[in-house]
Structure formats: structure tokens, C-alpha cells
Symmetry: C2
Subunit: 411 residues, 2 copies
């Protein structure tokens, strides 16, 4: 017997028939003797409809009212799923964010969870009643409804799992688990059995869309075992766990990519103290998030700096720099949106040299130029021209032995 939190996304609860299917799945888990709580999203399409109505009323809506409106989708789903469970003989009770309460900060439409009261939920679970919890929503410090941002229901599920000290949090979704890389691009991508919190966090923040970054952070902080699995196939998914559980840490566990960045290049900067500050200071003030940075000194003794910003901030960044061209004294600033960031992630990198070298050699052999590099303890990211994305992913996937293993497993 285990204590489980199950989370179902919008597609899994998209209509009455699917909600009934989810109810049967919950019942089968409960009938195996588990204590269950469920977290659900709004029926697919509902939140978008509510967002459209709010934006029709006000192009830049007050976010307190916006949250009150867009949180109603989940309220409908929890009521319907509780009814569906009761219809098949499973005691169930719906919970809205404020009823738990799930307390957040005051950042409407992008709130952070501060505290989840687990007592009421635990007590119900213990006596066999299934709490059916509205994902994505909470209650702010002033008693208003808050929402957690895109993918917030994953975060709700993991935070609830931490609060009720669940043995596991199962995230049911429309993919079968976490893959070595995007299977739509690399045919030989395979589903991972296990991945560490740290790796999952790097993959999520580098563009793998299977779990929201914040949900992984909470899982890591509270050591919540998370399983990502398909609500349409009854197969084991991928477990996101403590690295101690991963015996044979691979050099590289997976590859991620992101098309959300653009490159800014500033050339001919006088090589003097404070030049970098003069460039990045105004961007920070304008709330523009600079990610990868490379600086080098050219033949002329002047420096060039290349860096990435979110694509949506590209034109604004160039404008800000050009306005300060005279002060900073650079000769030109240009931008390029046709870039993509490719990242290799793996715990084993810490102990194995040569991961970066393999990356550089593989890309070089395919004639792919690396424009910017950045690294962390368990991740190496490179910025390359967008047109090389698929070629780079496939070559790296082979070079790190990720698809070779898939063949071995199938043999």
C-alpha cells in the first residue's frame, strides 16, 4: 500500500467520457489498496476560452480579476471528476485552492506556492476518500484567487504530494515519459526509466516541455518521487528521483533544445574596465534576461561580445544598445533570431572528462559552427544556426551512445 498523488492534464479530462476513464483509473489504483489524491487541470481548451474572454474585455487585464476568471475551468473539472468517482462507488470530495488552503505569494497569474496544508487531505485519504484537487490555483496573502502560470497543475501536484508525504506523484500526460531527446526529431530517442531531479531540472529549463521547471524544483527540494507517464497507455513511465537511486549515471542522459533565444552581437568595444557593465546594465534595468555570453578580443585590440536574450526581447535589446552606442563606444550592434540552443545534460559529466570534447568534435565533423558556449556542472549548451538543429541532435544522440542503448535494450 502506498500513498499516491495522481495528476491529469487537460487532454486527459477533455470531455465527460475521458473524465469517466480517469475515474476508472483512479478506482483501479485505490482498489489495489493505495491511498489516493488527484490533481486535475481544466478541460482542454477551457482555459484558453476564458483567457480570450478576459482579454476581449481588457487588453491588459487586472491580474487579480484575470485569475478569478481563468481559475474557474479547474473548478468545473474537480466537481465533475468527484461526481464520476462517486458514480462508480469511490468516495471523493473536490477541493479548490482556497479550501485546502494552498497559499501562494501575491504574484497574480504567475504565483509561487508558499505553503500547502496537508492535514485535511491526509485525513480524507486515510479514511479512503479521494480528494480531487483543482490544479493551477491557490489563495494569495489578501484572500484573492491566484494562478500559478502555464503548466501550474504539475506544480500543484508535486506540492500536494510533498504536503501529504506521498510515496509518489504520478503525472499523467500525453507523452509516455521523459525521452533522451525529442522523438519527433530523433527517431531513435528512447524513454528513460529514471532521471535525477538535477538532470530533469536542466532539461526542463533548456526547453524539454514534459514537466514545468518549478514542479521539478519543488520535487527536488522535498524529495518527491515523480513518475511521468501516459494516460493513454498503461506502461511504466519515467521516474524522476534522487540521484542516489541512479546507480549507473550516464555521461549524458538527454539532449534538449530551445528555439526561444536570439543572439545579439556587439563588436568593436574599447577594451577597458566597465565595458561589460555598460552593455548589460541597461538590459538588466529593462528587465531583459541575458543568458549565454561569450567575449573575445579581436586583432585590433578591441573586444567583441555575443550573448543571447529571449527572442521577444531582441529588437528592444538592440534599440537600448544603439541608444547608448556613443557612451559605450562600440562600433556596431547586430541581432540574429535564427539560432537554436542545444544542451547535453548528464550527472556523469561531473566525473567524466571528454563530454564537452565529444560535443565539439561531433558538431565540427558535421560542419556546424558553435557560436556561443555555456556550461554548468551537469550541462553544456551551445548556440548554433537554427537550420542545423535536427542534424546536430541526431549526431549528438549517436555520439553519446543514447540510441545504441535503445537497440541493445530492444535486442
Amino acid at each position: 500500500m502506498a500513498r499516491l498523488v495522481l495528476k491529469f492534464g487537460g487532454t486527459s479530462v477533455g470531455d465527460i467520457a475521458r473524465i469517466r476513464k480517469v475515474a476508472r483509473l483512479v478506482k483501479s489504483q485505490r482498489d489495489e489498496g493505495h491511498e489516493i489524491a488527484v490533481v486535475v487541470s481544466a478541460m482542454s481548451g477551457e482555459t484558453n476560452k476564458l483567457v480570450a474572454m478576459a482579454r476581449e474585455m481588457a487588453a491588459v487585464p487586472n491580474l487579480r480579476e484575470y485569475d478569478a476568471i481563468i481559475s474557474t475551468g479547474e473548478q468545473v473539472t474537480v466537481g465533475l471528476l468527484a461526481l464520476a468517482l462517486q458514480e462508480i462507488g469511490v468516495a471523493a470530495q473536490s477541493f479548490l485552492g482556497w479550501q485546502i488552503p494552498l497559499r501562494t505569494d501575491a504574484q497574480h497569474s504567475n504565483a509561487w506556492i508558499e505553503e500547502v496544508a496537508g492535514e485535511k487531505l491526509s485525513a480524507l485519504m486515510q479514511k479512503g476518500t479521494v480528494p480531487v484537487i483543482a490544479g493551477f490555483q491557490g489563495i494569495g496573502p489578501d484572500g484573492s484567487v491566484t494562478t500559478l502560470g502555464r503548466g501550474g497543475s504539475d506544480t500543484t501536484a508535486v506540492a500536494v504530494a510533498a504536503a501529504v508525504k506521498a510515496d509518489q506523484c504520478d503525472i499523467y500526460t500525453d507523452v509516455e515519459g521523459v525521452f533522451t531527446t525529442d522523438p519527433r526529431i530523433v527517431e531513435t530517442a528512447r524513454k528513460l526509466d529514471k532521471i535525477s531531479y538535477e538532470e530533469m531540472l536542466e532539461l526542463a529549463s533548456q526547453g524539454a516541455k514534459v514537466l514545468q521547471t518549478r514542479s521539478v524544483e519543488i520535487a527536488m527540494r522535498y524529495r518527491v518521487r515523480v513518475q511521468v507517464l501516459s494516460s493513454f497507455k498503461s506502461e511504466r513511465g519515467t521516474f524522476v528521483v534522487d540521484e542516489g537511486e541512479i546507480m549507473d549515471a550516464k555521461n549524458v542522459s538527454g539532449l534538449a533544445y530551445s528555439k526561444d533565444d536570439a543572439k545579439i552581437q556587439v563588436v568593436g568595444i574599447p577594451h577597458q574596465t566597465g565595458a561589460a557593465a555598460a552593455i548589460f546594465g541597461p538590459l538588466t534595468e529593462a528587465n531583459i534576461n541575458v543568458d549565454m555570453i561569450v567575449q573575445n578580443v579581436g586583432d585590433s585590440g578591441k573586444a567583441n561580445i555575443a550573448f543571447t536574450v529571449p527572442k521577444v526581447d531582441m529588437e528592444r535589446s538592440v534599440k537600448i544598445l544603439r541608444e547608448r552606442q556613443a557612451t559605450i563606444g562600440f562600433s556596431d550592434a547586430s541581432s540574429d533570431p535564427n539560432v537554436v540552443k542545444v544542451s547535453v545534460v548528464g550527472l556523469g559529466m561531473r566525473n567524466h572528462a571528454g563530454v564537452a570534447q565529444t560535443m565539439f568534435q561531433t558538431l565540427s565533423a558535421k560542419g556546424i559552427n558553435i557560436q556561443v558556449i555555456s556550461t554548468s556542472e551537469i550541462k553544456i549548451s551551445v548556440l548554433i544556426a537554427a537550420e542545423y538543429l535536427e542534424l546536430a541532435l541526431r549526431a549528438l544522440h549517436s555520439a553519446y551512445g543514447l540510441d545504441a542503448e535503445a537497440k541493445a535494450a530492444a535486442a
Copy 2:
């Protein structure tokens, strides 16, 4: 400057354009210097859609979950109206039942209001912010969402008006006010300027659908001045007020009718003590509400009893009686759904004889047979064959001088 609570029904907030119109109306009232709170229903059709989904999931849904689902319609409207007000420069903040809080008993889907906290609302109104309050919903003793039943938003509005000590509660609706009778039947029906709580209560409970009975009860208990008026015409409506405000109490203020009752006739009852108890006891036990009753002794020395029950309970009532025919000893029990109850209501009845006599004579002159009669201090109701409804209403409307006054007013 006055403190006002304005209530808008589902038709008045049926789409984005209409919500914008409501916002302009609220602004115009605020610009006149009034302190305003607004109560709104769900956009028309929304609650029915939610009810249909809940009933598709469970034919007899758990009412706690049912309430959680069907209360979301109002939540969307309050958010949208708050946004609409902000867009035209009016400070506004939405309130759900639990945020006020508006406390009710535990009777889900038909809850009674127990207490409305006026402090937060009053404080906002005082500083010029418009609270936009979700009608129809409250919070039960266990912290779950409750709903107040059909027309519950009227009740919310009046209860909020009492809680914030409003000078007036304006109920905007799709009719222009309270009429002497149904203008769809009697062309000469006219809008009343004022009507007392007691009269309104009798009219509402006798089938006039302009205000929910409970809302009138609360208005009467807390002496809330209520105005019923059209949200589509900018005209004075009907004021529902303390009878002290009504100087020239008419003998009869209005006529109401109800098609919701059926007649049950039990004949040949042994004239002995306890016969009435033997008949009505089992019906009361079965939760069937008996309304009008008439008993008479026939030539044979046996008694006949006729009474009314809600039409939906008619067949069940007859079945219950027939099962006990031997015990009670009556000779036959029959039922008739083709009846209608017509009521005349007026404060002046207390002091003026002849109101009943006028009714009986008028109906008799038209050849209409009165099957059952019941009276209260300010009301006389008669049960007649349904086919005479229009004829009876028109004749009584004239007989009590209700339409003659309308002509005088127009002259």
C-alpha cells in the same frame, strides 16, 4: 449621495457588450456621487450548461459537487464586470461568496443565507471602489461552496444591501417593474409605483415571478428598500417598501396566478374525528405540501374534502391515498390537474369589507365556478378551472378598478 446595491440578472450580462453596458450604468450612478456595490448572475445560459454537464455525469449528483460546478458561472461574470469597470476608470474588485464571506446553512443547491459580513464591502464602497459580488453563491458551515436556488441572486443582492446598510437595492431585470397583474394576459395591467413588502411577498409566493420570495422576506425583515426596474429602459421601476410609506393603500394592489397546483378530491369520508388527520398525515410524511383545503358534509352525512398539492406530486398523492382507502374508509379519490389558482392581494383588505364579495360576484357573473377558496390577512385565493384563467384575470382586474386607474394616469 446614497449607498446603493445594484443587481443585474443573466440577460443583462449575457455577453461582453452587455457587461460593458452594465459597467457604464454603474459608472453613471457612481458619478452622481453614490456609493455602489453590484451583484451579478451568470451570463444567461451558462448555469444551464453547467447543470447539463453535472447531470450528464450523474443523474442524481452529489449536491456539494453540483454546487461547486454550477457556481462558476457567476465567478466568470464578476471578473469580467470588474475588468469592464476598471477599463472605464471605475475602481472595482470582484467578490465570491466565500470571500465576503456570505455564510449559509448546509442545504446544498437550496441554501439559506445565515450571515453576510458587510465590513470589507462597506470599507471599499466608502473609498469609492465598487465591490462586484457573485450572486447565487455562499459558503456553507463546512467551508464548501453552496448555492441559493433559482433566483438566488436577488436574495444575495437584498442580503448584501442589508449587510452594508444600503439606502436602496435596485434589482435590474427584463421587466419594467411589478405590475397589477401579468401584462401578457391583461393588456390594461399597469406598473405599480410602490408596493408593500407584505403584498410583494404574497404576490411572489402566489406565482408572480418578478422577485424570489426569499429575497422579499429578507427585504421585509431588514427593511431594505427594493426597486425593481428594467435594465433596458431608463425609467423609474416599482419600489417595494414598508407599508408606512404607502399612503393610499388600495383594497387590491395586484392579481397573481399559479399553474403549479393540482386538485385532489376525496369523497364519501365517514364523518368522524380524525378523518382529516388520516388523509393528510400520510401526505405530510411523504413530504407533499398540501395548500388550499375545503371540507363539506354531503347529504348522506359523509364528508368530502378537496385540496391542492403541487402538480408534480399529484399522482403520488392519489396513490398514497388509495393504498389507505380501506383504513380511512372513503369511497373515492380523484385528481384534476386542469386547475389554476388566482389570488387578489392588497393591504387595504384589512380595513375594507367587500373584497371577497366582489371576487365571488365577478367570477359568478362570468359563469366561473370556484372550486376551493383560501384566505390570508391580505390575500384571497380561489381555485378555478384552468380554461377560465384569462377571463377571470381580466374581469377581476376591471372589477377592482386596477385598469381604470391606468387610464386615468394616461389621461
